[in-house]
């Protein structure tokens, strides 16, 4: 279960992002998990609920956007049908993964003391 090591890296990134905001509470953590990024969202959520304890994101809500995979032709950018061979129907070009291959910490919502 590599989700645990990814969540551990996520917690480290959150610590760094929160450091310039003293006294801030992390309310929401927005992540984007690609369909072909090799992560099971439910396992990721469970790992987050365990590993956030004692970290800056303790108590935060995890918001996951699951990004569907999208293959496109490298040459002409035509979309390739889901499940089909990874060759462009229009020009025969090779495919590239245009979306759905990444794991990203997109954004944090922080509650900061109003002074």
């Amino acid at each position: 279960m590599h989700e645990a090591s990814l969540v551990s890296a996520l917690c480290d990134q959150i610590d760094r992002a929160v450091a310039p905001h003293p006294g801030a509470l992390v309310r929401v953590v927005h992540v984007r998990l690609g369909e072909l990024a090799g992560v099971e969202p439910e396992l990721f959520r469970v790992a987050f609920e365990t590993l956030r304890e004692g970290r800056a994101c303790d108590g935060a809500t995890l918001s996951i956007v699951h990004e569907l995979a999208e293959w496109r032709c490298r040459a002409c950018d035509a979309a390739i049908t889901r499940g089909a061979a990874l060759r462009c129907n229009a020009c025969g070009g090779a495919a590239r993964l245009a979306r759905g291959g990444d794991l990203f910490l997109d954004r944090l919502e922080l509650e900061v003391p109003d002074v």
Partner: protein, 251 residues
């Protein structure tokens, strides 16, 4: 809070981060890759299911290439050093990476294993350095280890639909070595054509070598593919000394 003006209310701010969760690993992997290039080492990340024949493939590689090229290897396993012991017996200088509970190798584990010592020297002076990953078709796929190429060993006994079930692994592969093809006559419903069709749906540039470590089928094609990767690495421009940080080197 103050019910006159609302002072004392916390305010919510949004902070854009937009960072890959793999950035720490990718940083370490880039460092390894620069070292491999600097030393002219072709690193191959060998992945596949438990029992797909990764170690047997490397033993056969030693028989086919050991006299011509300098080989080195590290083997990742949750427990035991069996694979590294087998590779050492086959004449490949090797070291185990015992991962405990981790289901994959990451760049830091590889860096730790090849830093210094006898194995570090063997890796630095090798032509081909094999990183035999933990047997697993899921987790190892997303971790860059600084390799020049990803190879997936897929055995014919695993059936025809593994590529469709584990697309992330095969998406990342530069080459699939279809192992144990000497067993094909005994397997009903398994054909190389059906496996190749599945691969074409998940692997952007499908490349398949049919191989048997038992009867030697495909070993020449595999050796030729490895030599081509080695030539690419040898021709690549050497990086400037890759250290912007202060770790100690045992040179």
């Amino acid at each position: 809070m103050c019910d006159v003006c609302g002072c004392g209310d916390p305010k919510v701010v949004s902070v854009d981060v937009h960072a890959s969760l793999l950035s720490a690993n990718d940083h370490e992997a880039a460092h390894l890759r620069a070292h491999f290039l600097e030393d002219g080492v072709t690193a191959i990340n060998l992945m596949g299911s438990p029992g797909s024949g990764k170690t047997a493939l490397l033993e056969a590689t030693a028989r086919a290439l050991g006299g011509r090229l300098r080989l080195a290897a590290v083997s990742g396993d949750l427990a035991t050093t069996h694979d590294a012991d087998r590779l050492a017996l086959a004449g490949i200088p090797s070291a185990p990476i015992t991962t405990g509970t981790a289901c994959h190798l990451d760049a830091a584990m590889v860096a730790g294993a090849v830093h210094g010592g006898v194995i570090g020297e063997a890796v630095r002076t090798s032509d081909l350095f094999f990183i035999e990953n933990v047997g697993n078709l899921v987790c190892p796929a997303i971790y860059d280890l600084g390799q020049a190429a990803n190879v997936v060993a897929l055995s014919v006994t695993e059936g025809i639909d593994k590529p469709l079930k584990y697309p992330v692994m095969f998406k990342a592969a530069d080459l699939v070595v279809l192992t144990k093809v000497d067993l094909l006559p005994h397997l009903r419903g398994v054909s190389v054509g059906a496996i190749a069709d599945a691969l074409s749906r998940v692997m952007p540039t499908p490349r398949l070598i049919e191989l048997s470590a038992v009867d030697g089928t495909g070993l020449a094609a595999w050796a030729e593919w490895l030599m081509a990767r080695r030539d690419e690495v040898r021709r690549a421009p050497r990086p400037a000394h890759p250290h912007s940080h202060g770790h100690e080197h045992q040179r």
